[in-house]
Assembly symmetry: C2
């Protein structure tokens, strides 16, 4: 198929499905993945994942992580930092440990165990935040804890990715390589937040004085891409570069509403769509996937691990079992980053296509389930508050 | 080079060069083409024109023409239709005839003569339109005439391409194929302005009522791409589809300032840059090319043919010799289509590598010269108007 026609088919179907899914109360990314599944080998088999789509998809994940980074509010996160820290750590440690143990019991090797541990322990920031906004619960204690924990989650997940990539290259955890990658990361981050910050700020300020009207837009995209490429060249994941670029430029971009809107448009209105659709395009759902004996155990590990971790981590701070349960629900969705890891691992030959399909299905189920569980939890909490209020009035 | 790094290099250098050229008072696209020349095989040879860049470049010319179409005033375009028609016809006929005669005098055979006639008679609608936008002269009488003539030019050019390809395949001209492509063009345009218009308007109106915030943005891009793809599938250039899509949606997009700004950002701030840079990237300048005895005659034919054709075609309507000269300048640049024809002819063995390089250089020179000539012409016209105004005031 003509690449332009493939693009049209994906854009149109992904946005129609996304709209339908959003109207049904779920995150639209499910619809966009669904469009990929329908167009891909699982159903119609009319769009092939070629080099052009892969390229758009790479630009999609870069812009997605950049926009997510810009949308983070550092101050609001700071207030819930203790609850977030313990929740984030336990919210990663529990599913990671369960993933390793589960992988062992299911007969997988070390690399696949680590893969399972990582892929099951990375929360989707986008889905958590989006659900909290939809439910108007972003500024509750539970809400702030969820967002903060998801951020910490992400950072730990990125460090764990270093473990996985060194494992996949050499077959064992090479502590020297790992140490080198940690040192490189630290140097990169140190550079980014000193010289890099000044350079980025200076470049961005200069761009506002240029005659070229679209210069701030170009500078934002160029810095985002350059940061991703620099991280990638150092053997780190694009994600690290993106989060850093977003933190460096975030406050300036947020101040310029029209620039921010333009960047959101091109991300969610174009590139990101190809990222989600490409996940569906490479998925081969077959009876073997759906009836895979791995599906139920992995789904259980994914849900129990996150919900238990979130519950235990937040209980000492929120001091309410229902609120703590909601925090557990809130960090239970895996999303884009887990899928990135799974895709990269499949491409690197770490995991089989069968395990990849199963994990993708697990991710999709958690993404679908988390907003439902959160909605239920918050509704119960509201009902309890109303009941307490009315019983106080009757006294 | 990593495709992401190529993108960063092109974006950064093109925008820096563009800014410098703009500060010097010329259209920034000259700098963007220059960045391509510097990064490409002619100078540094560090960026290769690969499939990804070609794809971005195609999206670039599509979005460029779409934005231009949206910025165009349909009424101004309609009022200049007679001027455009004659200018379009003479603007093709003159360089085509000169190309044939020149090719004969230079000792070329029939197929090469036809090749020269065609490659020298296809105006680059992208270059003309971008220059008019940069000079803020798109909706003047000369501007509308240039755009209209370039569109007509394109249709004639496509028919001529049919001549060339049937000549190269069979050695003679197949009139049935030619008639079919003309009929298809007419049917396409008729469909677009009846059913197509209603469909596009309805879809766009629906998109505003959706929960998906970026839907109008997605719908605009999808209709633009679909129209380009439909034109392309019928054997026409993407350009025709774009201008039509833009005319169908223009008034609705212009009404929504934030949507329009977002589309301009993604075009000029991203895709379009790759279109201009790619013109420079494919240029291979060697001493043999520069000192080729063919260069000067071909350049003269190219410039004299178009400028004379544009001047003669528009003079009866614009009734001003300077304005008619500007129209001639405005249609004097050859661009992407001429380069595609040259590439295809080289690949088909119709022309030698030497003639190919020379023609490519001629194209680049016209591309760089046309904006300079247009700017000079419009500046003279403005100066004359100011002088007339002040002499009227002193009376």
């Amino acid at each position: 198929m003509d690449p332009i026609v493939s693009i049209i088919a994906i854009l149109a179907l992904a946005k129609i499905f996304g709209e339908l899914v959003e109207r049904a109360g779920y995150p639209p990314m499910i619809g966009e993945i669904g469009a990929g599944i329908v167009l891909g080998p699982s159903v119609l088999n009319i769009v092939v994942m070629d080099a052009n789509l892969e390229f758009l998809s790479t630009l999609g994940v870069i812009t997605l992580l950049f926009i997510s980074g810009v949308e983070m509010n550092p101050k609001a996160l700071a207030s819930a930092r203790n609850a977030s820290a313990l929740t984030g750590v336990l919210g990663v440690a529990t599913p990671f440990a369960l993933g390793i143990v589960g992988g062992m019991l299911l007969g997988f090797g070390l690399v696949e165990q680590v893969f399972l541990g990582i892929v099951l322990s990375i929360t989707s920031i986008g889905i958590s935040v989006r659900t909290l906004i939809d439910l108007k619960k972003l500024n509750t204690l539970a809400g702030s804890t969820i967002v903060g924990a998801a951020v910490i989650d992400d950072v730990i997940g990125i460090v764990l990715l270093g473990v996985l990539s060194s494992l996949s290259l050499t077959g064992e955890i090479v502590f020297l390589t790992l140490a080198a990658s940690v040192v490189l990361s630290v140097l990169f981050i140190a550079f980014a937040f000193t010289i890099g910050r000044r350079l980025a700020t200076w470049t961005f300020e200069q761009s506002r004085t240029m005659q070229t009207h679209e210069m701030p837009y170009v500078v934002s995209i160029t810095i985002a891409l350059a940061s991703a490429a620099a991280a990638h060249a150092l053997g780190l994941h694009y994600a690290i570069g993106e989060v850093i670029a977003a933190l460096l430029l975030g406050s300036q971009i947020r101040k310029d509403r029209s620039l921010f809107d333009g960047l959101i448009d091109v991300s969610f209105g174009f590139f990101v769509t190809f990222f989600f659709a490409s996940i569906g395009l490479v998925l081969q759902v077959s009876p073997e996937t759906i009836f895979s004996p791995l599906l139920l155990p992995l789904l259980l590990i994914a849900l129990v691990g996150k919900i238990a971790g979130g519950f235990l981590g937040s209980l000492p701070y929120v001091k309410d079992r229902l609120a703590a349960l909601i925090v557990g629900f809130g960090i239970s969705s895996r999303g884009e980053l887990a899928l990135v890891v799974a895709q990269a691992s499949l491409a690197a030959g770490i995991i089989t296509a069968g395990l990849y399909s199963t994990v993708t299905l697990v991710v999709i189920v958690t993404v679908l389930l988390a907003p439902v569980l959160m909605k239920w939890g918050f509704a119960r909490m509201d009902a309890r508050a109303t009941a307490a209020l009315s019983s106080a009035e009757t006294k």
